[in-house]
C-alpha cells in the first residue's frame, strides 16, 4: 500500500519532469545560420520567366581610349520576342538617352553606342544576353556586359608599360553616388594611389581611371575595386601599340567576385603564342593554387603548384615546368586547393608573323553550364571565329549549337549532337559552318560544359576570347 501511495505521488512528478526534459532536449538552441550564396563572378542570363532583365555595359571610350568605336549586341535566347530600352548614360554628365528596342525570338540586334556613353539595357523578361565590342586601330575586342552590379570588382591582369594603355571604366547605373577605393597589385607589391581612394562615381555616370597614368610602368597590374558605398560595374580596356612587339586591343569585364576554380578552354595555340595565367588573390589569406592543362593531343603536363600571397598576383607562363607543347590547343584549370578564392585570367599574346596577331587577357569560367550563349560574333569575310567546348565531367556530353542572327535562331546542322568526351575539348572553326555578322551562338549540352569563343581578324591585328554566358536551364 505504501508503495502504491508512493507511486501515486511520484508518478505525476516523474511525468512532469520527463515532459520538461523532453522540451529541453528537443528545444535546444537552433544552431543553424543562414547560408550566404556567394555572388556569381561572371555574368549570367536571367531566366526567361524573369520580370525584367538588366545588362550594364560600361563605356570603353574613355581616358586615352576615346578613339575606339563601341557597339552592343543584344541576343534574345528565348522563343518569345523581347522589348526593352537601351538607356545610354553619358559618362561625364549622366544624361540619359533612351532608345527602345525589340528583338525577335533567337535573334541578335546590334546597336551602335553614342560617344563615351555607358549602356543600361533593360528588357521585359529574361533570357537576354548582351555583349559589347570595341574597335580601334589595334584591333577589335568583345567583352561581356554585366548582368549584375556589385560593390567589388577584380581584374587579374593589365599592364602599364610604355607600350600599353590600360583604362578602367567604372559605371554607376544607380541613382545614388558610389564611393570606391582601387588597389593595384603589381609585381612590385600593392599600390593604392591616393587619386583613386575615396573616388566618387556620381549617380548614373562613368568614371574612367587611366591606370597607365596612375600606376606607371608595371608589367602586370591586377586591380581590386571596392566600393565603400554603392555598387557599380567595371571593365578594363587594355591596348598595346606594338612598339614593344605585342599589339592588340582587349576589353574585359572584371570579375564580381573571386572563385575557387576557373576553367579556360582554348581554341588554338601557335608557335608564336606567349600564353600564361595571371592569378590574383584578393583575399587576406594565402591561396594555394594548382594549374592543370589538358592538351587535345599528347600527354598532359604535370600540374603547376603556386602560392599566391594575400592581395597579390602571380604570373605563370604556360611554358613553365615543361608546359604544353606549342601549337597544341589545350584547356586549363586554375584551382585553389585551399579554398581561398582567386581571380584568374589567361593571357594570349600572338605576334607576327602569325596570321592572327593580337593580345588578349580573359577571365575563365568559374562553373560549367548546360546552356550557354554568345551575343556578338562574326564569321563574315575578314573575320574568323573558333568555338572551344570543354567537358569537365566524367560523362560524355552531347552538344547542339545554334546560330542567332538578325533573322532569328537556326540550328547548325553539322553541329547537332556533337559528342564531347569526358575531360576533353572539341574545337570548331565557325566560319566553316555559318557566315554571318552579327552572329550569336547558343550551345545546349546534355552535361555541363565550358565554352570559349575566339575571334580574330584575318590579316590584321585583333584577337578576342570570351567565355560563354550561362543561360538558365529551361523550365
Amino acid at each position: 500500500l505504501a508503495a502504491a501511495a508512493m507511486n501515486r505521488t511520484v508518478l505525476p512528478v516523474v511525468v512532469v519532469a520527463a515532459a520538461c526534459a523532453v522540451l529541453l532536449l528537443v528545444g535546444g538552441a537552433d544552431g543553424s545560420s543562414p547560408t550566404t550564396v556567394p555572388p556569381d563572378p561572371v555574368p549570367h542570363a536571367d531566366p526567361a520567366g524573369a520580370l525584367t532583365s538588366s545588362w550594364f555595359c560600361p563605356s570603353p571610350q574613355g581616358g586615352p581610349a576615346t578613339d575606339v568605336a563601341a557597339t552592343i549586341d543584344i541576343a534574345n535566347t528565348t522563343s518569345a520576342p523581347r522589348t526593352g530600352t537601351v538607356r545610354w548614360l553619358a559618362a561625364a554628365t549622366g544624361t540619359a538617352t533612351v532608345a527602345p528596342f525589340s528583338v525577335g525570338p533567337g535573334a541578335v540586334l546590334t546597336v551602335a553606342a553614342p560617344p563615351a556613353s555607358s549602356a543600361l539595357v533593360q528588357s521585359t523578361g529574361g533570357g537576354v544576353v548582351v555583349e559589347q565590342s570595341a574597335a580601334g586601330t589595334t584591333g577589335r575586342a568583345v567583352a561581356h556586359c554585366a548582368s549584375d552590379t556589385s560593390p567589388t570588382w577584380y581584374t587579374a591582369n593589365g599592364s602599364t608599360l610604355v607600350d600599353a594603355t590600360e583604362v578602367l571604366s567604372l559605371f554607376n547605373p544607380f541613382p545614388s553616388d558610389a564611393v570606391v577605393d582601387i588597389e593595384f597589385s603589381t609585381e612590385e607589391g600593392r599600390e593604392a594611389p591616393g587619386a583613386v581612394q575615396g573616388l566618387v562615381i556620381p549617380a548614373g555616370r562613368t568614371t574612367f581611371v587611366d591606370a597607365t597614368a596612375t600606376v606607371r610602368r608595371q608589367q602586370v597590374t591586377a586591380a581590386a575595386v571596392r566600393a565603400r558605398t554603392g555598387q557599380l560595374v567595371v571593365t578594363r580596356l587594355q591596348r598595346f601599340d606594338g612598339s614593344a612587339g605585342r599589339a592588340g586591343l582587349s576589353l574585359t569585364l572584371a570579375a564580381r567576385a573571386a572563385a575557387v576554380q576557373w576553367t579556360f578552354p582554348n581554341a588554338a595555340s601557335t608557335a608564336a603564342d606567349v600564353t600564361g595565367w595571371q592569378v590574383f588573390n584578393p583575399d587576406t589569406r594565402e591561396a594555394e593554387v594548382t594549374i592543370a592543362s589538358f592538351p587535345t593531343s599528347g600527354d598532359a603536363p604535370e600540374p603547376i603548384d603556386i602560392t599566391v600571397p594575400p592581395r597579390s598576383q602571380v604570373t605563370v607562363p604556360a611554358a613553365r615546368d615543361g608546359g604544353v607543347p606549342t601549337g597544341v590547343p589545350f584547356t586549363s584549370t586554375v584551382t585553389s586547393s585551399n579554398e581561398v578564392p582567386v581571380v584568374a585570367e589567361r593571357l594570349v599574346d600572338v605576334r607576327a608573323p602569325d596570321t592572327h596577331p593580337g593580345w588578349t587577357s580573359v577571365l575563365g569560367s568559374p562553373a560549367p553550364a548546360r546552356r550557354l550563349a554568345f551575343a556578338a560574333g562574326d564569321t563574315s569575310a575578314g573575320a574568323e571565329q573558333w568555338l572551344a567546348i570543354f567537358n569537365p565531367g566524367q560523362t560524355p556530353a552531347k552538344v547542339d549549337i545554334s546560330s542567332m542572327t538578325a533573322a532569328g535562331r537556326a540550328p547548325i546542322a553539322a553541329l547537332q549532337g556533337v559528342v564531347v568526351p569526358p575531360s576533353s575539348q572539341v574545337v570548331f572553326r565557325m566560319n566553316d559552318y555559318v557566315q554571318a555578322a552579327p552572329l550569336g551562338l547558343e550551345i545546349d549540352a546534355t552535361e555541363p560544359v565550358v565554352v570559349d569563343r575566339t575571334m580574330t581578324t584575318i590579316g590584321a591585328t585583333g584577337l578576342s576570347i570570351t567565355a560563354g554566358v550561362p543561360l538558365a536551364d529551361p523550365g
Binding site: 501515486r8 520538461c20 529541453l24 528545444g27 524573369a50 520580370l51 538588366s54 521585359t124 547605373p173 555598387q231
Partner: protein, 1028 residues
Amino acid sequence: VTATDELDPTALALPVVAVVVTRDPGDWLEECLASIGAQDYPDLSVLVIDAASEEPVLPRVAEVLPAAFVRRLDVNPGFGPATNEVLGMVEGAAFYVFCHDDVVLDPTVIWALVEEAFRSNAGVVGPKLVMWDDPSRLLDVGMAADKGGVLMPMVERGELDQEQHDSVRDVFVVPGAVTMVRSDLFATLGGFDTGIEIFGEDLDLCWRAQVAGARVLVVPAARARHREGLVDRVGPDQAALLRNRHRLRTVLTCYRTYHLLWIIPQLLFLSFAELLYTVMTGSRPHAHRVVNAWWWNWQHRGEIRARRRVLKAIRRFPDREVRKLQVGGSARITRFVRGELAASKLGEELEDLSGELEDMVRRRPRKLAAVAWGLAALLFVVGTRSLLFHRIPSVAGFAPFDQSPVDLLRQYLSGWQPAGLGSAAAQPTAFALLALGGSVLLGHMGMLQQVLVLGAIPAGAVGMWRLTRPLDSPNARGVGLLLYTVVPLPWNCVAHGNWAGLILYGAAPWLLTALAEVAGELPGDEAPRERPFWAAALALGLLLACVAAFVPLAVPLLLAVAVGLTAGGLIGGRPNRLLGPISLAAGASVVAVVLHLPWAVALALGDRWSWAGVAAGGVRAFPASDLLRFETGPVGISWLGWSIPLAASVVLVLGRSWRLRWGLRCWGVALMSWTLALLGGHHALGLPPAEVLLAPGAAALALAGALGVSAFELDLRGFRFGWRQVASIVGGVAVVLAILPIALDALDGAWHLRAADHAGSLGPLAAQPVGGARTLWIGAPETLPIAGFHLDDDLDFALTTDTFGGVLDRWATSGKGAIDVLRQSILAAESGSTDQLGTLVAPFGVKYIVLVDRAAPERTDETLIPVPADIDDMAEHQLDLRKLEVEPALGVFQNVAPASVRTLHAGLSPAAVAQLDSPKDPLAAALALPAGSPVLTAQAGRPEASGRVGAGELVVGSPADDRWRVTVDGKAQSRREVLGWANGWAVPAGAASLTYETSPVRLLVVLLQVLAWVAAVVLVVRGWRRRR
C-alpha cells in the same frame, strides 16, 4: 647618569590619564576602578565622568579611588562626547586611556600599553579583551574591518586563550572598551565624533587616526576583562541599529570623494541585498536597521560634510593606503557564509532554518504578503520610472496613440480600414474600445497608452493575487504574487515593445482564475461556485473579448490553456470536473467571437499572421532553456532564471491532496505554454511570438509556487525530517534568488527600453510631405513598428501611410488581394527577377522602402535582427531606389520612380489603357505603366482626398472596391478595377474629389455590436452583484 646608575622607571613614565565614563553603573564599577587603582604605572591619574547617572557615582568612586577626579554631566551625551570632556579638563597628559565602566584591567595594562606605544610609535593601542566571567576565553584581540567598515574579529569569540594571539600587531580597530590614545593625536582628531553616542566610536576614532597617519596596535600582553554590559543596557536591536548608523557615518566621513563614488554603490547594493534577505526572512528590525542607517545619515549629511572638511585638513594617508589596512571583499558576506552555511553542520542548520522558516510563515502570515506587495510595487515603480511619466517610445508594438477618441470612433464607424493598403474589412473593435478609453481619460491618449501598456503589469499582479485567493494563505498569496512579479516575461515585453505579450501577461491570471473556479477543488471559495455555466462563460467571454480586441489569439490560447489544465489534472488523478475548464473556455470563446462580430469573421478569413495581435512582434526561436526560464530578452540572469521553475516545483515534492493535484494542473498549463512557444519558434501552426504564449505558463507557475507554500504550511509537518525539508529550503531560497535579476534590471529604470525610436530617426523624411504616399517596411516582425504581413518565415513587410504611421496602422488587415501583389513584387525583386522594385511598387504609392535591423535606433542597443543579406542585396541592386543615409539600424531607400497613392497617367495609348484594365500579370503591367504624376494631394480624412486633375487615367493605389467614388466638378465618374487590384477612373480635367462611401449595413452591424457589448456588460455586472 652614569653607567652604574639604575634607571628609575618612574622617572621615565609619562603622565597618563585614565578616563572612565560611566552611567548608572552596576556593582562592577568598583571592581573596574579598583583595577585601575591597582595599576603599577607610576604616573597615572584617573578621571571618572559620570554621564548623568540617576544616582551620582562620586561616593562610590571616592570609596575605591579617593584620588580620582569625578566630573558629573547633567545630561548623557553618550560615551564619545562624554569622553571628549577630557580635552577641556586635562593638560599635560601624554596618553589618555579611555575605559568603559565594565572592564577590569590587569595590573600591568597601562605599562604595557605605554611601553608598546613608545616602541612602535603607535597613536592608538588597546589590550587583549577576555571574557568577564572566564578570563581564559578571548573576546577580542583587535579587529579588522572591510571597506564598508564592517568589523571582523581577529579571533573566534570564546576561543580559549592559549597565548596563541599574543603578538603585537597592527589592527584596524581596537575595541573601545579600553583604548589608549596619544593625547596630541586625540586633540588633533578633535576627540571622538560627537555625533556617535555609543557603538561605533572606536571604529571612527581608529579610522581617522590612521587617516591622520597614526598606527593602531593591539598589545596582547595587556589584558582586560570586559563585561559587555552596554548591550544589555540599550538592548541588542538598538545596539545593532546604532552600529549600522555609525558605521555608515564613519565610512561617509573617512573616504575621500572619488573613493566614495566607488564605495557607495557597492554599499547600496549590499544593503539592498541585505534588505531583500531580511524581508524574505521576515526580520523587520533587521530591515529597519538597513534602511535607517541610510536615512539617518542622510539627515545628518551636514554634520558629515563638516567632519569631512576637518578630516581633510589633517589627512596624511590617502584612502588607498588606508584600504591596504582593511580586509578585502565584504566582511558581511564572509560572515554570513561562514556563519550561516557552515558545511560541517549543514543538516542541523538546515533543520533549524527550516524550523525558523516554518515558524516565520506560521507566526507572521500577513507580513510576507505585505512585503510581496511592497516589493512588487517597488520593482514596478523603480523599474519603469523612466516610462511612467514620459512618452512611451514607438518601438515595435508600442504604437503611438496619435488619434483622438473622435477620430478613432469615426474610424470605427467607417467602412474602410486604412491599415496596410487599406481594405473594406470590418473595423477592429479595438478602435471603439480605445475611443471609449480615451473619452474616459478626457482625450489624454498618451495617458491611455500608459495605462494600456504599463498598466498590464499591475493588472497581472492584482490578477495573481485574485487567482491565489482560494489558497487562503497570505504567505502563499505573497509568494505567488512575488513570483509572478519577478518573472522576466513582462519586463522583456517592455524591453522589446511587445504590447501583445504585456496584455496577455496582464490578463493571464484573470483567465486562469475563471478556469480554476470551474475546475474546482481549491478550498477557499466553495460557496461562490454555484453560478450557471452561461453566466461564467459570459463573464469570461467578456474578459476574453477585451483581451482579444488587442490579441485575437487569446481566444484559441484560452482553449489551449484549458486543455493544459485538464491534462495536468489527469496526471494527478481523476478530477471531478474533468471537462469543466474546456467547456468554459469554449463557451467563453464563443462569447468573445460573437462580441467581435463582424471583425472576427474578417480576421478568420484574413492573414493568420494578424492573429498575434497589435504588432505582436516576430516569432523567434528560443531554446527551450530560455522558454523554461521565461527569458526572452535582456532582462534576467540565466542561471538565476531557473529559480522560478525551481520554486514552482516545490509543490510537486511537498504537496498532497488538492495541492499536488493543482500543482500538476499548473505544470500542465506551463508545459502547454512552453510547447506552444517552442512550436511557434519553428513557425508551426502560425503561432505568435513566445511572449504571448508564455504568459499563461508564467501565471500557472506562479500559482504553483504559491501552492508550494501551502504545501509547506500544511503538508511538510506530516513528513519526518529529510529531503523534503531541504527541498522547502531550496524553494525558499529560489524565491529569494528569483528576485535578484529583476531587482538588478529594475535599476535601469526602463527595462532597457530606450527613449529613441525610429519615428525620431525618420523625422527628416517626415518633414518632407510625400503627398499621399506610403512607406514600405521590411524586417523581422519584432523590429517593425506596425503589424506586418508575412513575407517569409522570418520576415514581414508592412505599410504605413506617410512615413511612420500611427495606432490605426497597428491592426493588420487582410493579407490577400492587393497585398499579395505587393508581396509578389518584393519577392520578385528578392529572387532577382527584376531590379526595378521602385517601379513595381510605385502604383502602391510606396515612396520609401525601409529595411529594419533593429526595433529602435542603433544607439539603443535594441536586439539586432538584421534583414537577411539577400533582401539587403536586393534593395542595393534596384536601379530605381536611391539609398539614403538616415540611421544605421535602418536601410532607407527612396523610390525614384514617381510614386503616389493617387496618380494621374495622362496620354496613355489605347494599348496601355487596355493593359491597365486587363493585365495578364499585375507585376508586368506595373512595369509597363508609364510614369504618372501625383494628384488629389489635399487629404481631408484618411481615405478622402481632393484636388485638381488633368484629363487621363486616375489610379488609386488601394484595393479595388466599388464603394470608392470620384467626382470631377461634381460629376460622378465611373470606377473600374485596374492593374488587377487597384481602382481606376478615366477622368476629365477639373476639380476632383475621392471618397469612400460606407455601407449602411456597416452602421447597422456596428449598432448590433454595441448592443451586444452593452448587454454582455449588464449581464455580467448583474451576475457579479448577485454573487456578492
